[in-house]
Assembly symmetry: C2
Homo-oligomer: 638 residues x 2
């Protein structure tokens, strides 16, 4: 490690904490070419235990960074969930099996389980290839935000001063360094130093539910040991989470007082061992046997608490993310959901593209307000779900003797509702203020504020099938998808040519928001609804095909194994088409009737077009200062 | 490079030549833990040009070594072929588009194009992780085979003595080394030193067709530049092969005399330049324009010759593979088929698992005879196809003025016949000597001697879908697939239990051919035809599920997106099941009625079971000395 002697340095973004939240953000910024630095107090990355679940939407997000392949190669997949309840003959019996992920549009219709260290490695290797490594062990000792309004309002000012202490594990000498940063992200966990330093409170409460967690390779005759299982027994509840290789995580419900120190009211970990936890689990599993001839990989104890930070940012200069701003059934209670949702949340959370736009001078500082707006609402929804679900799961099962207990149907219902939310697929950033029926006929199934629906199209130039999500990478660019309709039809092709001509004009959004290099801000794709044997990609206007690979067709592949039906799936008229704008993070920003995109039409229709046009403007950098926030919804001034 | 001073060393297998043939073999042997060495005379791997096509079956084979992912990531895919012929109005016009690969069962229904250097890198990186690197530049100077029959018949004798010269590119000092090898593979190209040294002749002839090849990034308005194209114009024929990135390979037919030195009859390369070749191409492309503002990546000239080596091996100790034993439309004539088929051929060719079995003492030397038997027949078929096809492609197109020319229909027909062959999917190693209709009802669509049909099954333990080919890796093991039928049916489960009991007995093939470690020779998978909501993987007998991952179901996945219909696709009765043995290289060795697998039944039915049983024995090491060869077919003594 280099020696820093009261050194001073500058950086655009300083990230404190190299867990999943910090790493996702660092990798994203490094890819965008932002000057970023990331530190962590731990001398090495997590080796075992901790979070281990990656939700369907998180896999899509990782894929948008090109990182899903390795996750899928190394991780376990959970496709099925099994429910066990008390059997009339004693012990437990299976009451049903079901889909683990209640998200029919998921591109990856399963959860991946893999220990946090392996997930961190995926980011660390990606970052290394971009020239960024985590500096560790390094701790921040003070953080100071400029009090000067002019400084705070200048996106290029280094308004945050942080003092770092570089610990040297070998000779115990440490050196200090003063860092001047434009932005700071605190991804420093549930006990966040950043959060505490700025006096941000955590609002919420702690429950009485205590759970134990054990990671091991069990020996068992339990037939669902490789499925996620919710076991409700009269001897306590248990959740089975199969993991990479032959590993399994067990979440084991403990009776309220069993491991609590009566003098402090806190969990007494000294009084517990993984062996003791497994003794409890064995009783839940009966009549099936479960034992661990293999070493315990990791174990812990938790009391469930559900809290959200009162704010997620300070003056749009310092942000907190991940465990630092929301804790919930943390690693217990409703099984590994805590871990899953942490990682999921962290993965989609960082405002990397927003920071990038500010740093490039393409957007106003107020674009950053959408971070707290979008993510804090999500965290609150999460806590609400979590409370309901963990109460059900920690509750006693319904039996003949206990008619007030939780029934299988009640639990299954909650599980599926919760699953739809926890998959991350349903996240909806901008509740649609106005739903204009005239527009629902244009792209009915692409909901503004939701992530772009996955679908397979084929490339016009070479008939190769492509998942459209793979053509919308997280490369900081807005994607302009021109669903060009039936292009071999002469009249339609004329409309498309006219659109391209409009888009090429100086007053077009390409020029106005292109900051002199429109190809760095916008990536254009054209999607024809016509068939592969007749379409020439060269028929489309040049502006819509900056490269031969940019023209797609809504058609099946050469063997009709995949593809086709995309216009229908999106609810777009195959003759008339539509224009869809997708944000850099993969969420739909806007859709329009193709003809509405032409300046003349927009002028004609301006009166009832207000909200749509403004939602687009909201997503296009430079115009966000026209927005005001009211409660959960976003409204815009014109 | 280390200095070798008249050093002597021992090795099990010495491979001369680190092209695709040599590398595939070296990688395969290294994976099997065989002591292997590979040398090459070139100081570095190929950087541009050369072969560039990978056929569907070759992709499957690469995948069985875990190498397809990278190929698919780096390579271009050809899904569609376009045909252009003379237009009545002058120039060319498109007469049709079609599927590029005529192989409906292909798992990867396309060809991958990628320059040879990148393909070599895939092998080199895989080998490096196994501790094997290519020693270069090293040339062999002499090779000597023992004349002692006793030595030749002892598989453990180092019967081949090779003298190597280590060239030192820096100080021009070279050192010699004497290597004693058990086996030598000559993958040293069309001018093979190994082949010439052993006086093996190349039988065949040279044609008059001369072709030029240019790799470049063209600028063009030709709408099919990203498809494979066969262009027949009145100004000569041309083939377009789109490649990785924006690169394109053009095969350009030259008039017979244009570039031939009349004094020697050979191609006069001094008189040609890539610019001259492109001038010829431009005339074929009219009315479309094509030019190359970008540098020429690689170019060459070829006269088509079609030849096969008179033998592929010397005393089953020295083998030749790839270009060393067959040349055909080499990099010209019928487009890039030469390259594709070379690589395809090389990739499936090396008898690596056979050598491994001999070296482990598990098989008799005569197992190696199947190499020449299987691959020489293939090479001859290839030449026959190639002759027909290249004549058609080099011929003049049919026009109003030339009614004797090649019509589009005639060419398309030949193209598709050729494609079915060249995809590699149709390779059938053991023409079925006997097709017993009584057996056709057992696994009708799994043809003995053809590669195992790809299909998606789901794992019983966790409902995760798997391509069965991915569960049959090239790990030198025979795969025993027990299609267990309707296992929840009590009577059927009893039959399956009885089979498992038989397989566990000392007289079973598992024990007899297991060489004390049956799990190293046989990998067992059980496939039930029942549904995922009711099957417990723990219901199957322990012998059929050495691990929880070894039980599959013929069912759709949780979202019914994939899977199901496997028994039907294979032609197996979903109630009764079947037993299928797959060779280590992925080819079906045997199938049986499930009940026939029990010793008692085999004894009862021995009279009409002869051929099937023997085909299995033929594939199980240690019994191949019972085979005799007659022409194209294989017969067995009992």
């Amino acid at each position: 490690m280099p020696i820093f002697l009261n050194k001073e340095s500058d950086v655009d973004v300083l990230i404190i904490g190299a867990g999943p939240a910090g790493l996702m953000c660092a990798n994203s910024l490094a890819r965008a070419g932002v000057n970023v630095r990331i530190i962590d107090e731990r001398p090495a990355k997590v080796m075992a235990g901790q979070a281990d679940g990656v939700q369907p939407r998180t896999i899509e997000v990782l894929q948008s960074y090109g990182l899903a392949d390795r996750l899928l190669r190394e991780g376990n997949q959970m496709h099925m969930v099994a429910f066990y309840n008390p059997s009339p003959s004693g012990g437990i019996e299976r009451t049903g099996r079901a889909i683990d992920v209640t998200a029919p549009t998921a591109r990856y219709p399963f959860e991946v389980t893999l220990h946090q260290g392996a997930i961190e490695s995926i980011f660390l290797d990606s970052m290394r290839s971009l020239g960024v490594t985590v500096q560790r062990p390094v701790v921040p000792t003070s953080i100071e935000l400029s009090q000067d309004e002019a400084v705070l309002n200048d996106p290029n000012s280094r308004a945050v001063k942080v003092v770092l202490k570089h610990l040297d594990p070998t000779d115990r000498q440490s050196e200090t360094e003063v860092v001047h940063a434009k932005f700071v992200l605190g991804g420093d966990g549930a006990h966040s130093w950043v959060r505490k330093t700025f006096g941000i409170t955590m609002d919420g409460e702690q429950t009485d539910y205590i759970w134990g967690v054990v990671d091991t390779v069990p020996e068992t005759d339990f037939p669902d040991i490789r499925n996620r299982c919710a076991i409700h027994s009269n001897n306590g509840s248990c959740m089975v989470i199969p993991r990479e290789g032959d590993k399994v995580r067990l979440y084991i419900q403990l009776s309220d007082k069993q491991f609590v120190d009566p003098s402090t009211g806190r969990v007494d970990k000294d009084n517990v061992s993984p062996e003791k936890l497994l003794e409890v689990a064995k009783k839940s599993f009966a009549p099936y046997s479960i034992s661990t001839p293999n070493p315990i990989d990791w174990w812990t104890l938790y009391i469930i608490g559900q809290r959200v930070a009162s704010k997620f940012s300070v003056r749009d200069r310092v942000f907190i993310a991940g465990d630092a701003c929301h804790t919930h059934s943390p690693k217990a209670g409703q099984g590994m959901n805590a871990s899953m949702l942490d990682t999921h949340n962290l993965a989609t959370l960082p405002p990397a593209w927003k920071i990038t736009y500010i740093l490039r001078g393409w957007a106003d500082m107020s674009l950053l307000k959408t971070y707290e707006f979008e993510r804090r609402k999500y965290a609150q929804d999460l806590i609400n779900f979590d409370k309901k679900f963990s109460t059900l799961f920690s509750g006693k099962p319904r039996t003949e003797d206990n008619q007030n207990g939780v029934s299988h149907e009640e639990f299954l219902n909650a599980f599926q509702t919760f699953g739809a939310f926890s998959s991350g697929i349903g996240v909806h950033y901008l509740p649609s203020a106005v739903v204009n029926p005239q527009h629902q006929s244009c792209a009915t199934n692409l909901i503004v504020g939701q992530r772009m629906l996955p679908h397979i199209f084929i490339r016009a130039a070479d008939a190769r099938p492509y998942e459209i999500q793979d053509l919308l990478p997280a490369d900081t660019r807005f994607k302009v998808l021109v669903f060009a309709g039936d292009t071999p039809d002469k009249a339609q092709l004329e409309r498309v040519n006219a659109l391209a001509a409009e888009m090429g004009k100086p007053e077009s959004f390409l020029t106005r928001f292109g900051h002199g290099e429109p190809a760095k801000v916008f990536d254009i794709l054209a999607i024809s609804s016509a068939k592969k044997d007749i379409v020439n990609y060269t028929d489309l206007p040049q502006l819509l095909r900056p490269h031969w690979s940019k023209v797609l067709l809504d058609d099946v592949d050469m063997f009709a194994r995949t593809g086709g039906g995309g216009y229908e799936a999106y609810g777009i008229d195959p003759h008339k088409g539509a224009l869809v704008i997708v944000r850099p993070d993969g969420y739909v920003a806007l859709w329009l009737h193709l003809s509405s995109c032409r300046t003349s039409t927009i002028i004609l229709r301006r009166s009832w077009w207000r909200h749509r046009v403004v939602q687009f403007y909201c997503s296009v950098p430079g115009l966000l200062d026209d927005c005001v926030y009211t409660g959960n919804r976003m409204y815009y001034r014109l």
